[in-house]
Symmetry: C2
Subunit: 347 residues, 2 copies
């Protein structure tokens, strides 16, 4: 039995989320064993690292229709926020995981969680690497970058690649994958510090601060005078519009997310969809949830890249559940530099 | 030598095109033989049937950048309009075609044309069928319907298919292909007469007059309570927006064209691109120009369907070059019922 801290959503959010939309509570004592009455296999985990991801804003609003994110449903006011996390198994009646195993999957923003769907968790095969990497480069963010770039965008050597939110958890990897592939890659971010990091740390061929550009269409024309073959979309709205007019014939837009739109009651319009036919553009949304069977292949590839120093990964680490709401809100203000992680406990 | 009529563009068009943007002239006598001085293989053709297609509006505006339509460039004021057409070869120095052959390809809106790029023409293998079919079901429109539906949208039996501009040259075929595939298909059109034709003549499961719907999103929800798997996009703008919110997870939008947008100086906004990621939607533009190597396969399939009465095709036939400008303008007003064809000469 243990008391614990947890982060709950206070109320459904309208517009921009604030730290005060969440609340850190201490629970009464809860058992650290799977209830004996439970018919289904389950496990109790200790949460070590939690992932802050832009899509989480979408779960802070109540939707009338059943959600289209597999495994994910809207948060419930009064209950713990949920996200991907790295966990240590404390007790398990699920045959694939035993006490002491490290796993990652969707868990609660609390010190311990009873997991009733352990089948969506994945065992951590490389605990010799920083465990927090399984919220990022070896977790959803890395797998997202890999799928979106390699499977959805079908890159070819020498193609021109643009990545928005390029200093984030996913963007920094897309840029590095593109360079490993022999592409020309430009990234955008919201501060000069991030722009510098894109060029010096992640090897982007060029980068720019979108906040300093009066006209995104002209900015992209400057960085891509020959046009864009692949756009890795993390932003949406005005940026997507500017990209559309700069796309090359047979270009591909891998739509990972649209962080600029998540806090808006009314989404920004996109005017340039008319170019999709003459340019024969493919715009495709994707989700890692659909692709977990191929995660193992990705994990081994990414682990090799890390061990061979072919890829680097920047994390923005915040200590303690009490700082988790601020870390999550920071994503929407562009405060994070790299993958935003919350440490609940290092062991 | 012969004098002939031709239809020329008078000036580049802003906004909605009018009949008076074109002019029917009679030329001085021109030779009906390939000039002997010509180094490249060429042919002189007699134009029989001309195709009126929505994309032609895009060529009536001067574009600063090189056009992205292969084979097609902006029309030139004072010169003949160009479009797909069915032609009879009068003289040829191109080895693949000889005098008397029937061919189809991009020709001029005039009685006779000197064709300097005969390699983009295709021989008509089934002159026993109505020759006008090679402007429609056996020409670009039919091939477009086939590629967009079968190759781009990747349909599966039992899927829910929506077709806009469904009574047009392409839409009527998409609906019939979808029924042959075992899909549930609903079409929209702009008059009750067309709606009736969709159901009674082309076998659509249901159809509606979009002009009578105050709210397209709700209309689509009524016709597709379970959502749309495939949208064959001919319209754009507000319709695309309404479709996006009604798409099912892993839905596909084959973007054939956006006729509602071609006459607008400022395109209509699309607000709902944000659903592309959670629904994992693929939006893909396509052009027949990229696919001519597989035309032969299509032609044989379509000819079989026609001969076995599995597919029917409705044409809206106008007689005489002098009526061609009105026929083309009629497309943008929704006047045509079925494929709009202009007869220059029946033989």
């Amino acid at each position: 039995m243990a008391t614990m801290k947890k982060v709950v959503l206070k109320n459904y959010v309208k517009g921009k989320p604030k730290e005060t939309d969440m609340e850190v509570l201490t629970t009464s004592a809860i058992p650290l064993k799977v209830p004996e009455a439970s018919n289904e296999a389950a496990m109790v985990v200790k949460n070590l690292y939690l992932s802050c991801d832009p899509y989480m804003r979408l779960l802070m609003t109540k939707h009338d229709e059943p959600p289209e994110f597999s495994y994910l449903s809207d948060f419930v006011p009064g209950e713990a926020i949920r996200s991907y996390g790295v966990c240590k198994v404390i007790d398990s009646t699920y045959p694939n995981f035993k006490t002491g195993d490290y796993v990652w999957g969707i868990t609660g923003w609390e010190e311990y969680s009873l997991i009733t769907n352990p089948e969506i968790f994945i065992k951590i095969n490389h605990p010799e690497l920083p465990l927090s990497y399984y919220t990022g480069i070896l977790g959803m963010a890395g797998f997202t970058a890999y799928l979106g770039f390699h499977e959805v965008a079908s890159p070819k050597k020498g193609e021109y690649v643009y990545v928005s939110a390029a200093a984030g958890a996913v963007g920094q990897l897309v840029g590095q994958f593109a360079k490993l592939m022999g592409c020309y890659v430009v990234g955008s971010a919201g501060s000069d510090e991030k722009v510098e990091m894109l060029k010096s740390k992640f090897g982007f061929d060029d980068a720019f601060n979108y906040k300093k550009e009066a006209n995104l269409t002209l900015a992209l024309k400057r960085f891509f005078p020959q046009g864009i073959d692949i756009y890795f979309e993390n932003v949406g709205g005005e940026m997507l519009d500017a990209v559309l007019v700069n796309m090359r014939v047979r270009g591909r837009i891998a739509v990972c997310g649209m962080i600029s739109q998540y806090n808006l009651d009314n989404p920004e319009p996109v005017y340039n969809t008319i170019v999709i036919t003459p340019k024969r553009i493919r715009v495709e949304g994707f989700f890692v949830f659909d692709h977990f069977p191929s995660y193992g292949t990705f994990e081994e590839m990414a682990v090799s890249y890390i061990k061979e120093n072919k890829i680097t990964y920047v994390e923005d680490i915040v200590e303690g559940l009490e700082n988790a709401p601020g870390a999550l809100i920071g994503l929407y203000e562009g405060r994070n530099v790299g993958k935003q992680v919350v440490v609940v406990s290092r062991e």
